[in-house]
């Protein structure tokens, strides 16, 4: 076999085969958006087919935005840790739950004030939230110091990090069970929070609007932190390319600590809001884990804005699907979206490559 007999064996430019052309088309951002849109429209059509009214669908979509905000707060921390430390943190759901329960504990400790109508809570609730956020951030940093930093020093394989995070998920969850028990809790049991009538016949509770506003404010804070401060820039640089960041004199350990602090605090906020919108259960964070991962993957790992966009898509799709599907199937809806992303464009909506 003489290679020189076939001069066109290794051409510089070669016509692409049909399969490659199809793959090039399929892997574009536009195709992913179209496939997500197809799923969404299919859900809407199914809902209409089952006789769900348009107004109800609009209300569900409005709640979906709120749920997307909650998932988004959780997934920002998840995607930053994933980007900086390169491992999927399975204990993030436990941080979400822990945040909700810390707020619950602070509420019992703070003096009760009159509810700020039409909201269902008084001033003590935001105070408790502000107290619980840094506390969960510190818990995340402490777990990092106790477990993940040792693994980093051993240069352990990344799957060991993932496994350690699974162990920490069960550790934190068992602490929650021991401290607060397996029963449901409410922040304000038995307090009425009637729905407001908004234009277009959208029915939303005031608490849900509060959640949305708070989520937006926190997102804005994250934006300012990541874009305008030194540590935020260092964080993005480390998520992008850790070696290069180190070469440029960025203290990686410090960046990692800040990432955990930020991720933990946002997870606590997300958990508290989820607890306010429904109730507190020790498993709540575990149920949110899959939607959070789906949002992080959909947005491109390490990209907080992408995670937010993914979370909104997942939140709305999830809520609209409850029009005709059992609401407990929420993780399944998120999972289907995640599989679509993995099949079409594994680097996510905002990931690099593919066009």
């Amino acid at each position: 076999m003489d290679i020189s007999q076939e001069p066109d064996r290794a051409p510089v430019k070669r016509d692409k085969r049909l399969g490659e052309r199809v793959r090039d088309v399929v892997q574009t951002r536009a195709f992913l958006l179209v496939s997500i849109a197809v799923v969404f429209v299919a859900l809407l059509v199914l809902a209409r087919f089952q006789g769900v009214s348009g107004e109800r669908l609009l209300s569900l979509a409005a709640w979906g935005i709120m749920l997307g905000g909650i998932i988004g707060l959780g997934s920002i921390g998840l995607t930053l840790v994933y980007g900086v430390l390169k491992f999927p943190n399975f204990s993030h759901g436990a941080l979400v739950t822990l945040g909700a329960y810390f707020t619950f504990a602070f509420l019992a400790w703070l003096p009760q004030s009159e509810p700020l109508r039409p909201l269902s809570f008084g001033w003590e609730f935001p105070v408790a939230l502000v107290l619980s956020m840094p506390l969960v951030g510190l818990v995340a940093v402490a777990v990092d110091r106790a477990v993940y930093r040792r693994l980093r020093r051993q240069n352990a394989h990344l799957v060991l990090f993932a496994m350690a995070s699974l162990a920490m998920a069960f550790f934190l969850r068992s602490i929650i069970y021991i401290a607060w028990g397996p029963d449901f809790h409410f922040y304000f049991p038995g307090r009425a929070n009637p729905a407001l009538e908004l234009p277009l016949n959208i029915r939303v509770r005031a608490d849900q609007l509060f959640i949305l506003v708070l989520a937006l404010m926190l997102m804005l804070g994250v934006y300012v932190l990541l874009e305008r401060t030194r540590i935020g820039k260092a964080m993005r640089a480390t998520a992008d390319n850790p070696e290069l960041a180190q070469v440029r004199g960025i203290n990686t350990e410090r960046v990692i600590a800040w990432t955990w602090l930020l991720g933990g605090a946002l997870a606590a906020a997300g958990g508290t809001m989820y607890g306010l919108s429904s109730q507190l259960r020790p498993e709540m964070g575990f149920w949110l884990l899959l939607p959070m991962f789906a949002a992080a993957i959909m947005g491109g790992i390490g990209n907080p804005y992408g995670a937010l966009a993914g979370a909104l898509i997942i939140g709305i799709t999830h809520q609209v699907s409850t029009a005709f599907l059992d609401p407990t199937y929420g993780p399944a809806v998120a999972f289907v979206l995640m599989v679509i992303v993995l099949l079409v464009r594994p680097q996510g909506l905002f990931g690099r490559g593919g066009g």
Binding site: F87, P88, F90, V147, R150, L151, A156, L158, V159, L160, A162, M163, A164, L166, A167, M168, F170, F171, R173, S174, I175, Y177, I178, G181, P182, F286, L289, L290, F293, I297, D326, T328, Y329, P331, A332, A334, F335, M338, V339, L342, L343, P346
Partner: protein, 396 residues
């Protein structure tokens, strides 16, 4: 009374010999030694132990065998190929429910209003196990194809999701397997041996010989059956892992690029090992269902069916089938033992807070979680490390 002890001892021989074969070092005297010691031990144990303790040890050993099978299945995935399967519970549940749906006879009359289920074919035990293996292979294949083309960490996320969704399906869908209510009356193999009328298809003398046994002694038969399954799976896995196929798995795990350069189809190999592991997990599920007789979705919680299995494999030694089985038994022992511990510390907890004693059970979770973290941090290779020698034709 004497014949009862005699029959029990005979039934215990096979499991004990198999256990000794597993524990003794691989020397020439292993087989005769195990057989002799096994027979002596079986007679000594059934003669000396009170029947309550014997029954407890047998049920402990059966659950240990179920976990040993799960750990063996996970070992082929994680130990030999490096798959992070955080959804063991899903394949376990699929196996258990498939076998149950195949072997239970569909209820008729009034019972049909209380128990709704699909299939209900009333097929024999072995057909149920085979169906469990087949269905969990199909599920594993469907999960593996989209995910295993990609980065390995996506598999962990996807499997944790799949396990949760499988659990949700068995929780919500009443028509499939009686929804949130338990599915009852899963038939047990060879159960007729301990019933008074005996088995129709066996010669009549068996009924006379097994006369002294009561239905309470049935787990002894089941222990023999399940330990044979574990032994079979172990031998098969050992053979597979020492074959060219096993070497290919390790090559793909350790040196993906050079394995690909040597013409190994990386993605296909990964899918193969994932499916093989899921088949063993499905069989474990089927054997669990036939042992407990009644199953529902809550049996397939991520803690019992995924997390414990991971702790077992990591403790025993990933990449070592012997270690996997031994780790399974040790951690199952620790888990069962901490139940007594939780009872013991209850009065102590009552001094701290009123609510705490009721939550004593969760201290077991805490302990097991810390155990896994400690293994990952201080001894990731486990008790028995992987044998580096991949072929007996290679010198050390």
């Amino acid at each position: 009374m004497e014949t009862l002890i005699l029959i029990k001892s005979v039934l215990l021989i096979i499991p004990i010999v198999l256990l000794l074969l597993l524990l003794l070092p691989a020397r020439r005297w292993r087989l005769p030694m195990a057989v002799v010691a096994g027979v002596v031990l079986a007679f000594a144990l059934s003669a000396s132990l009170p029947s309550g303790i014997l029954a407890y040890s047998v049920s402990f050993a059966i659950m240990g065998c179920v976990y040993a099978l799960l750990t063996l299945g996970l070992n082929i995935q994680w130990g030999y190929t490096g798959h992070l399967n955080f959804g063991v519970a899903g394949f376990f549940a699929v196996g258990a429910f498939t076998s149950a749906l195949m072997t239970v006879e569909a209820p008729t009359g009034i019972a049909a209003q209380y128990t709704q289920m699909a299939f209900g074919l009333g097929l024999p035990f072995l057909v149920g196990v085979a169906a469990a293996a087949l269905v969990s292979a199909v599920v594993a294949f469907l999960v593996a194809v989209p995910v295993l083309r990609l980065r390995m960490d996506f598999l962990a996320i996807a499997t944790i999701g799949v396990a949760e969704i499988i659990r949700l399906i068995f929780q919500n869908e009443r028509w499939l397997a009686n929804g949130p209510q338990p599915l009852r009356g899963i038939p047990q193999p060879l159960r007729c041996l301990v019933e008074t009328q005996g088995c129709g298809w066996l010669p009549p003398w068996t009924t006379t010989v097994l006369e002294p046994l009561t239905p309470r002694d049935y787990p002894l038969f089941y222990l023999t059956i399940i330990s044979l399954f574990v032994a079979g799976a172990y031998l098969l896995m050992e053979r597979a892992c020492r074959s060219p196929w096993g070497r290919m798995l390790r090559a793909v795990r350790d040196e993906e690029a050079s394995a690909a350069m040597n013409g190994k189809p990386i993605t296909y190999v990964r899918i193969q090992s994932f499916v093989v592991g899921a088949v063993i997990m499905g069989i474990a599920g089927a054997l669990y269902a036939h042992y407990t007789v009644t199953i529902d979705y809550s049996h397939f919680h991520a803690l019992f069916a995924t997390f414990l299995v991971w702790v077992m494999l990591m403790l025993g030694g990933s990449g070592n089938n012997r270690g996997a089985i031994i780790g399974g038994f040790i951690v199952w022992g620790v888990w069962s033992g901490t139940a007594f511990l939780a009872n013991a510390i209850e009065p102590l907890l009552a001094l701290i807070a009123d609510d705490l004693p009721r939550r004593a059970a969760y201290f077991r979770w805490l302990l097991v979680a810390l155990l896994l973290a400690a293994i990952v941090l201080f001894r990731p290779q486990g008790l028995i490390r992987e044998e580096k020698r991949v072929s007996r034709y290679l010198r050390e």
